[in-house]
Symmetry: C2
DNA sequence: TTGTGATGATTAAACGATTAATCAAGGATT
DNA sequence: AATCCTTGATTAATCGTTTAATCATCACAA
């Protein structure tokens, strides 16, 4: 591998001059600058990351800790983070929390060992990750006191509820699959808040058994708001098996805009998190902390948007009547 | 940050002794070893990655280049690779090919700049990625001459076909959505090979329009083998909308065992790639190349397995009769 | 007593880049 | 003509770790 030393030797100048010429820092004549850059290009010179890191104390690498890399929302995240990090000259080293708190702390240690300049952390719920000796940006929920950036899950829930109200639905099922997940709780609470006083609604958490959609429909429920597209997929297909048509008999809204949401028929209406914006702010926050910026960006919350597709429609007249007439 | 120098100073020994004590390489008395390790632990000493990398010429970091990080099969891959890399003491730096050949080459350059010891490459189809100055392990298809590890897509296709034959189906649709994808072509060819002479079948590539399943069913088709779970999801739900029941009227098999395959009803039968094994071999291959191993592992192909779920069932008698009696 | 070996530690150099300090030489100023 | 400033380059030190080479001690054998 070519080094500054080699360029210096071949050109008969000192390494300091080569370094200055390439970084444009010291005082070097234009002639020498040209000579050096030309020779560097010829040799295919690439500055040694290790050498630079050793001297400057910066590796230019950020660590990313996620509780579970196989979760379907994370690819989008990772992509956004990679793009933003790259734009600021950072690379991203991934680590896997392996679903446990111990694994999460171990991931942090590994990243520190590798000399990362900072850590982007998506904490496993209910854990208090150890504080690393480098800046950390936590992507979490707004109620988490340590968050640097958060998606506005409550607002997303509201959005879903408002959309379904606008379509005339007045009896609604709110469906989650993990009653301990703060994210799901926020989403459900947002829905409930918007629905309060506007419609009848009930909350269910699917554990062992899935709610009987036909029963619910018989009692007048015309819409199901779920906390994820996977759950929405389950509802849509389960409904179909029970002979309910979607959206004619049942409207469904999911969360996260997963790839499956456009593959399923009907396509899924969903609440989409602005992962690009989340990534942008997380990286900006972390970069500011690393550079010891005077006024770093404050923790912020990013709103979600509604994407209406084919799984939602106007409330059926029949169902509403049925509800009114049934005991 | 504590360094060997600091430990040495506090203990009144030389840095070389500290280094030797910590790595167990030179000649150091047991007493001193104990002293040094104890003090190192006290101070929370972590060896500087930059210093070590500079001296040894190894960063302990592998680069991962993927054509599109948002593709649903990649989380699984990334997870497997991270686990295997970690087991061998490597970290993984992600790079994004951004879907273009230029982006792919740029990703390689970025990784080189960051000093990776080797690169794991999942090439964008039809591209010839530039050769980096470090070892590279290519995860591709068996017909790709540069592959280090490949999933056996043909065999996977065969598996699907054999399963569907065993269930009595004799008129089958093979469905892809990208006729230029070598992976999809391999899968379809595998299916066709197993079906040849055993059953009637036709291949269709969904472009603008999706095949009319009701029509096909009317002509006797009782099973659809697809090249991906996303496509299978489309088939299952589209069929349901056409009034066909799955698996009673139509059996469906997908590929890749995506998370959605257990969320949809009926759950999807699918061909599952052994991503853990693929990752293991890719890392082993790369590690051997980096360590300049004498007899490195040869390029190898990893078989897939069949996972039968609820989207497949015996061929319907009615449909078969229908086909026999129809003109 | 002298030489030999083993043991345990130190010295010093090296990896590659950066940067403060220094120096030489030429041009401009008084 | 003596001084000062500017320009363009070099020297040397430093970051933290590793490692070959060296050295000092002491034990033991001849």
């Amino acid at each position: 591998m070519p080094s500054q030393k080699q360029i210096a030797r071949e050109l008969g100048v000192s390494v300091a001059t080569v370094s200055n010429a390439l970084t444009g820092k010291g005082r070097v004549s234009q002639d020498v600058v040209d000579l050096v850059t030309e020779r560097a290009a010829q040799l295919g010179y690439t500055p040694s990351a290790a050498g630079r890191a050793l001297k400057t104390g910066r590796s230019g690498i950020l660590g990313l800790v996620m509780p579970d890399i196989t979760h379907p929302v994370f690819p989008d995240f990772a992509q956004g983070l990679e793009i933003e990090a790259d734009a600021r000259g950072y690379g991203i080293l991934i680590a896997n929390g392996r679903g446990t708190e111990a694994g999460q702390d171990n991931a942090i240690r590994q990243l520190i060992k590798r000399g990362v300049d900072g850590i982007i952390m998506i904490p496993r719920r209910g854990t208090r990750p150890q504080v690393p000796p480098v800046p950390m940006a936590t992507i979490s929920i707004a109620s988490d006191p340590r968050f640097a950036v958060a998606a506005n899950h409550r607002q997303g829930g509201k959005l879903a509820a408002q959309a379904i109200l606008q379509l005339g639905h007045r009896s609604i099922l709110l469906l989650g699959d993990d009653s301990h997940s703060p994210v799901q709780i926020d989403r459900i609470e947002g829905m409930a808040e918007a629905l309060e006083g506007q419609a009848e609604f009930q909350v269910q958490w699917t554990g062992d058994h899935f709610p009987d959609l036909a029963d619910l429909h018989a009692t007048g429920v015309t819409a199901v708001l779920t906390v994820s597209d996977l759950l929405a997929l389950r509802v849509v297909t389960e409904a179909s098996q029970s002979g309910l048509r979607c959206p004619d008999d049942l409207s469904v809204i999911g969360f996260d805009n997963l790839p499956l949401s456009t593959a399923v028929r009907p396509t899924l209406s969903t609440i989409v998190p602005d992962t690009a914006e989340l990534a942008k702010r997380a990286i900006a926050y972390l970069d500011a902390a690393i550079r010891d910026d005077q006024d770093p960006p404050a923790p912020s919350v990013v709103d979600m948007t509604l994407r209406l597709r084919d799984s939602t429609g106007p409330a059926p007249q029949t169902a509403t009547q049925h509800r009114r007439t049934s005991p």
